[in-house]
């Protein structure tokens, strides 16, 4: 491995770790704001306890998400200085907007939310909750605008002197169709992530008959929201797939491991091959006839472009080279993402149908309890594989059609420096994940505290609400 490989590895490790907490934070801030809205409207004390209890998970997630986000912001310059010089004129703007418009909002009002209990009016406190939630959503928007420009560059020209890209139309960048499909896909994915986390923790508590009022109500509220979120994530994801057929045909061909252009392509469910860029043949392939063409083109005999043909076309367009990503990665991450999504859909659908029976959630059956626990991990798998697919599927490009990853890394950073920093991040992040997981488990086991509402005497343990 050379410095470039380590720089990529570092980006992968730090981003995957960061993105474990990002969807959780986006989803939970909105969820907490929703619970608080219910409390504000009804003054029902159960909703207040829900707000406080789910708020604890939100805060753990926010804490780790914020500090690991710092690394993301600096990493472009540290490891990818050539990339930064090349795209900074365009890519920097959404990042700066993210800081000015989103980060200030969310980090200021999360502070108000944590410490404002009893110090500001309930109405202002509720407003703080929503402004935090809006901040997280806006931040997702701007970073997806930036990423979408790497997927599908728009609104730019190349400077003839420096050969760097520069911005010519900010609205083209902000209204990039790629961004407007990726944004709802990620946001609804984040809502599903939080919904299934809430469901899993609620199921754990309900199975043990703890605070049944609070957790049955949480599950009853979270299940339909998660179902809708999963469906919408899928719908926007489907739209993204269609758009990719024209914007990045290689990525979609690689997602299906479709080597040659085919009429009436079958939907491959399971295939193996040697793990190289150009495996000779698929050693096994379980395929449903014509279904892939039907999904992609709405015609069972529709034509789908194959990897070899797209590669030839790109060679003609961009010059000699290999424009094929690692097909094994794209094929399987795509399947894991969609597979996890389908399971999430089934879980929440069954839950929504069954919970209509009175007392079903309160006496939660073991099978649904177990399924809900597993369910909490499904969005994490889908979030991770989705990003690995979209980023690895764009290779060899870092900016599609403009700049190759191999030409984008810092030229002045030594291999030793990158290895030292990877080691530092792995150790620190590893430590954080252990602490974060233990705190999550502690909060789950501890529960919302027996001294529930504001009318009852408080115990010291309930100070956890404040988080500090």
């Amino acid at each position: 491995m050379n410095a470039l490989d380590f720089a990529r590895l570092q980006f992968g490790i730090t981003t995957i770790f960061h993105f474990l907490f990002v969807p959780m934070t986006i989803g939970l801030t909105s969820w907490v704001a929703l619970c608080e809205t219910r409390w504000y409207r009804t003054r029902d004390e159960v909703y207040l306890r829900m707000t406080r209890y789910w708020g604890r998970f939100m805060l753990i997630s926010v804490a780790i998400g914020v500090v690991t986000g710092l690394v993301q912001e600096f990493q472009f310059g540290m490891n990818w200085s050539v990339y930064s010089r090349y795209v900074g004129d365009i890519f920097g703007s959404p990042l700066a907007m993210e800081g000015l418009i989103a980060f200030f909002l969310e980090s200021t009002f999360i502070g108000v939310w944590i410490f404002g209990w009893g110090r500001i009016s309930p109405k202002l406190h509720l407003l703080a909750a929503w402004l935090t939630a809006i901040g997280t959503v806006l931040s997702a928007f701007f970073i997806l605008v930036a990423n979408s420009w790497m997927q599908h560059p728009v609104g730019y020209k190349i400077d003839p002197k420096t050969h760097h890209a520069y911005l010519t139309d900010i609205f083209a960048v902000l209204f990039n169709p790629t961004a407007w499909l990726a944004f709802p896909h990620v946001i609804f994915g984040a809502f599903a992530t939080a919904g299934l986390l809430v469901l899993a923790i609620s199921a754990w508590q309900l199975f043990r008959k703890r605070h049944t009022d609070l957790f049955a109500r949480s599950a009853r509220l979270a299940l339909p929201l998660a179902l809708v979120a999963v469906i919408l994530t899928g719908i926007f994801g489907d739209g993204q797939g269609r758009l990719l057929e024209s914007e990045q045909p290689m990525k979609m061909a690689a997602a299906e491991a479709l080597y040659n252009t085919t009429n009436g392509a079958c939907l491959s469910l399971f295939a193996t091959a040697s793990f190289t860029r150009h495996p000779k043949r698929l050693t096994s392939d379980l395929c449903i006839p014509n279904l892939e063409s039907l999904i992609a083109t709405l015609n069972p005999n529709g034509t789908l472009k194959g990897i070899n043909q797209v590669n030839a076309a790109e060679q003609k367009k961009y010059g000699p080279g290999d424009y094929v990503p690692i097909v094994g990665v794209t094929y399987w991450t795509f399947r894991l993402m969609i597979g996890a999504g389908v399971l999430m859909f089934l879980l929440t659908l069954v839950g929504v149908l069954r919970m209509r029976k009175p007392g079903w959630l309160e006496n939660i059956p073991r099978w649904f309890y177990v399924a809900s626990l597993v369910g909490a991990f499904l969005p994490i798998i889908a979030n991770w594989t989705g990003w690995i697919f979209t980023e690895m599927g764009r290779q060899p490009w870092v900016v599609y059609g403009l700049l190759k990853t191999s030409q984008a890394s810092s030229t002045d950073v030594s291999l030793a420096s990158i290895v030292i920093s990877i080691a530092a991040y792995v150790l620190l992040y590893g430590f954080l994940i252990v602490v974060g997981a233990r705190l999550f488990i502690r909060e789950i086991k501890h529960g919302p505290g027996d001294s529930g509402g504001p009318g009852e005497p408080q115990t010291g343990a309930d100070e956890l609400l404040l988080a500090y």
Partner: protein, 365 residues
């Protein structure tokens, strides 16, 4: 060579973001570094953490936005700086991560080892970052070994020469004083007295270091004679620091805090004047120096970002100021001694006055 209006505007804006960052995060670095010095028991430490609890996260956004603004307005500067200061920046990031999670995790367990572990993370993370930012900025102004393609060729130890280390001691000592002055304003009882005493004792040292650094900076310009423009803010920085020291001695907390903030601001304004119109001077050859013009984005991007900044900066400043107003109450150990919780405050609120202008610290019961 000379930056045009938009380039100058963005240089000014980025300097403003850094000045804002150092004034605001400066005191929470100071509070963090002094946590174990001023706070002697659980309740006191809790009170200290609460003084910055609602605001440190917002304060940190100033540097994130400064980074983003540098990326957008001067991509060449962002690229050379961040890749060139690789290991130094890694150390800063590790410090910021450690202190960031420490505030959140500290209260999660009563185990004394857990508590003291996170307190050390707060102390070292805050103090380390306070020191390293000064080292980094001194290096930027002094210049670093850099080749013709603006790749910094310095190793980590090349960045640790005496001038840069003095810069680090200056920010560390200024931020410690700033934090102590902040605590003198934001606490009650013993905490106030201890903070005041500490500020009074540290202030002369910080002032001497600052003046030494400013004089060295004035004569440290490899590219020409002493810059008069930089000496005006430098003089103001020195005078403010002296005034802050005198105010500390007279127990005038507000004046000491305000003058300390002015000293920090003027120090960085003076450094910004020293650096202008360069972004990063090269000590290898003057010809290799990175200028603001050479690092800047096109004027279209700068115009777009100017509009965003003109709209957003006043809004951000308004709600940030509102937050400081909401959390202006002084806090003391007695507020955190009992088993009272925010819920007690909430309950009081719901039972009584809903207008939200009750200024008692939340858990006072």
């Amino acid at each position: 060579m000379t930056p045009d209006f938009l380039q100058t505007l963005w240089y000014v804006l980025i300097v403003v973001l850094w000045v804002g960052y150092f004034i605001l995060e400066g005191f929470d670095f100071g509070v963090g570094a002094l946590l174990r010095v001023i706070g002697r028991n659980e309740a006191e430490k809790r009170a200290l953490i609460h003084t910055i609890g609602p605001i440190w996260d917002g304060n940190e956004v100033w540097v994130i936005t400064a980074g983003g603004a540098t990326f957008a307005a001067f991509p060449g500067w962002y690229a050379s700086l961040f890749s060139g200061f690789y290991l130094a920046l890694l150390l800063i990031l590790l410090c910021l991560i450690a202190r960031g999670v420490s505030f959140e995790f500290w209260g999660k367990s009563d185990d004394p080892r857990w508590r003291s572990g996170w307190e050390w993370a707060t102390t070292i993370g805050s103090g380390g970052a306070a020191l390293l930012w000064g080292v980094g900025w001194a290096d930027i102004v002094h210049g670093v070994p850099m080749n013709a393609s603006h790749d910094v060729t310095a190793k980590l130890w090349d960045l640790l020469h005496p001038y840069a280390l003095l810069g680090g001691l200056v920010t560390l000592s200024l931020f410690l004083v700033h934090g102590a002055n902040f605590l003198a304003l934001r606490t009650t009882g013993d905490l106030t007295e201890r903070s005041r005493t500490l500020a009074r004792r540290l202030s002369p040292l910080a002032t001497i270091l600052l003046i030494g650094f400013l004089v060295w900076t004035a004569f440290d310009q490899p590219h020409g004679p002493v810059k008069i423009s930089a000496q005006v803010p430098a003089a103001l920085a020195a005078l403010s620091a002296i005034y802050a020291t005198l105010a500390s001695a007279r127990r005038e907390d507000v004046k000491a805090f305000a003058a300390g903030a002015v000293a920090i601001a003027m120090l960085f304004v003076s450094l910004a004047f020293e650096l202008f119109p360069y972004a990063l001077p090269s000590t290898t050859s003057h010809a290799f120096s990175l200028t603001l013009v050479g690092a800047a984005s096109h004027s279209y991007t700068l115009t777009v970002m100017s509009i965003v900044a003109v709209v957003m900066v006043p809004i951000v400043l308004a709600y940030t100021a509102w937050t400081y107003w909401v959390f202006r109450a002084r806090l003391g150990a007695t507020d955190f001694a009992g088993e009272a919780t925010p819920l007690a405050g909430l309950q009081r609120k719901l039972g009584g006055d809903p207008s939200g202008d009750d200024q008692a610290p939340t858990p006072a019961s």
